[in-house]
């Protein structure tokens, strides 16, 4: 073979490898439950309890850590997981027999986690919040893995010792990652006291690579319940605009949940870099996701995308 033929063969092999990766057969279809929820008011714990059950999330007897997305606070937009949503999830988990439900977060920009939580309404919405909350930026740490050339990956001890981590992201687009959902939400588990504010190591490691690394580290005992009642579109995760989506998405597989969220936002999940790289952790293909509850295609709302991410738009109607 000449050089051109070697090149063509190489490209073909690489392409085949990619196709093979994207059509990896799964032993089962991953259940993802989609719930309609118009607002944070009223009885939210009941429907969320149903979502947890329908998604197959087992909680009885477990020590649970809820990981909301708490970034910055602005009255003008919807940056954070709504405190009433967190309160409702906590109530639902306790009613389903969870032994303990703590809340933990390590914001990436704001230094004073407690004041941020207060500004964001967590103290008002969640009874006994100060006894339940763990500042993951300043917790004791344990070595959880490796960030390869950047050294060990340290984890907050409270997170590491939880039987079940529930990622509670906000349904948002993201200016560097395309979307920020249950996997990207795990950035908040990296302790700022070691990595700083922002956690710059994760950016230099590669945002998408870091998203996948954290998902690999925690996926086995992490489930997701996504606050998509009010999401954020455009220049997320901070400067975007609120988007009333009226949905809650729950599941045991983070990749499948995030892929479903993408479809609900009118985004092709197979084009999202981190999801494309995380297919060894779960499926993005609809045939390997068992959609329960509402059908995503009937609730699809095309979230505004920044021009640099316009190519993520799903062409399927």
């Amino acid at each position: 073979m000449n050089r051109r033929q070697w090149l063509v063969a190489g490209i073909g092999a690489a392409g085949a490898a990619c196709v093979k990766r994207q059509t990896r057969p799964w032993s089962r279809r991953e259940p993802v439950f989609v719930l309609k929820a118009a607002s944070y008011g009223g009885e939210l714990a009941g429907p969320i309890r149903r979502a947890i059950q329908e998604a197959g999330i087992a909680v009885r007897g477990k020590r649970v850590l809820l990981k909301p997305n708490l970034v910055e606070f602005s009255r003008a937009t919807a940056i954070n997981t709504h405190p009433l949503f967190v309160a409702a999830v906590r109530e639902a988990l306790l009613s389903l027999g969870a032994a303990q439900v703590l809340i933990g977060e390590g914001p990436g920009h704001r230094r004073d986690t407690w004041v941020l939580a207060e500004e964001a309404g967590y103290f008002d919405a969640i009874p006994r919040f100060e006894n339940l909350f763990v500042d993951l930026n300043r917790d004791e740490v344990t070595e959880a893995g490796s960030l390869d050339e950047w050294g060990p990956l340290w984890a907050p001890k409270s997170l590491w010792e939880a039987d079940l981590i529930v990622s509670l992201p906000k349904l948002k687009t993201h200016h560097w990652a395309g979307v920020t959902l249950s996997m990207k939400n795990l950035f908040g588990t990296v302790p700022g006291s070691l990595y700083g504010w922002p956690k710059n190591v994760l950016h230099l490691y590669g945002i998408d690579r870091a998203i996948v690394k954290l998902a690999e580290t925690y996926a086995r005992r992490t489930v997701a319940i996504v606050d998509g009642i009010t999401g954020m579109e455009g220049n997320g995760p901070i400067q975007g605009k609120p988007r009333q989506a009226g949905i809650v998405v729950a599941g045991t597989n983070l990749v499948a949940v995030d892929a479903t969220c993408c479809r609900l936002m009118g985004i092709d999940p197979s084009l999202v870099p981190s999801l494309s790289m995380a297919q060894h952790l779960g499926p993005v293909e609809p045939e390997w996701i068992e959609q329960r509850g509402e059908k995503p295609e009937t609730l699809r709302q095309d979230f505004a995308l920044m021009p640099m991410w316009a190519w993520l738009r799903s062409r399927k109607s």
Binding site: H109, Y195, V201
Partner: protein
């Protein structure tokens, strides 16, 4: 807690003293193992007391072979907290071998230069994705990463207070770089956030705690940028900040001689140790003057 606890400063002092671990260090919260950052702030807040000497002894024992300090002994990796310990050593006049090694580490670990926009970036974008002077090297949180406001402020102040290095042109050059970097990152509203003023064509807002820190790094300086910074700090102050932001703004105002409507920092048993310490440092008779470069009264 004693009867004096009705006074917020006395309460902060009680809580802080009770946080000292048997090894002399302090954790971020009550009952936690000793970490370098809260221990350093506690040592400054308690300057002149035997508890501060015990804290310094613990800190001295944590220095790494390379000369820097780890955020926590368990990690065995040098980090931004090196600036805090070097600062303390300068304040205390401990220009010993540990100080020398710490200085050497600090000077040898600047931030990595920012990315130079590619031709494609320049073609596709009217302005860089992140607007800043990438050639101005501040200091990073962890070695090999980019420069940010807070670690740069601490490094600048540490180097400024190192009297034996006052005539060293290399040190002065690094201080100058750090100060220009802080000024370069000033947000449109006059304050500072963690270090990004404009990203993807949108201005970012300042944070009160970072605005205060930047002003602490610019203590002793005047001019329009500093005046805009102080004006922005007053805007933040008018919104009744609490916790860390309030503690740092009080210190910044005092360092710049700005008259302000002082309010004591309210603390509870849950207040983070560094906030307890900074609340005490910022008291009218607190050790903020040492941080500024003067003598405590």
């Amino acid at each position: 807690m004693n009867q004096a606890s009705a006074n917020p400063a006395a309460q902060a002092l009680d809580l802080l003293l009770a946080r000292q671990n048997p090894d002399g260090g302090f954790g971020h919260a009550a009952g936690q193992s000793s970490w370098v950052e809260p221990t350093a702030w506690a040592a400054l807040a308690l300057h002149g007391r035997p508890q501060a000497s015990r804290a310094m002894a613990w800190l001295a024992g944590q220095q790494m072979p390379g000369g820097g300090w780890p955020a926590h002994p368990q990690t065995q990796r040098e980090s931004w907290v090196t600036s805090l310990v070097v600062l303390l050593k300068c304040i205390r006049g401990e220009f010993d071998e540990g100080w020398q090694r710490g200085m050497h580490w600090l000077l040898g670990h600047p931030a990595r230069p920012g990315p130079t926009p590619s031709w494609l970036d320049r073609l596709l974008r009217r302005e860089p994705a992140v607007v800043q002077d990438h050639q101005l090297l501040g200091w990073p949180w962890t070695p090999g990463t980019s420069g940010w406001i807070e670690p740069t402020v601490h490094a600048v102040r540490a180097l400024q207070l190192c009297r034996p290095a006052a005539g060293n042109p290399a040190v002065q050059e690094r201080i100058g770089h750090g100060i220009r970097m802080i000024l370069d990152r000033q947000c449109r509203d006059g304050g500072w956030n963690y270090g990004n003023k404009r990203v993807l064509g949108e201005d970012l807002e300042s944070f009160p705690e970072c605005t205060a820190l930047a002003l602490i790094g610019l203590a002793g300086r005047g001019g329009p940028p500093v005046e805009r910074g102080i004006a922005c700090a007053f805007q933040h102050w008018s919104r009744q900040p609490r916790g860390l932001a309030q503690a740092l703004l009080r210190i910044a105002f005092r360092m710049h001689g700005a008259a302000f409507d002082d309010r004591p920092v309210r603390v509870t048993a849950r207040t983070e140790t560094s906030v307890l310490a900074l609340a005490l440092i910022g008291e009218p008779q607190g050790t903020w003057k040492l941080w500024q470069g003067g003598n405590a009264s």
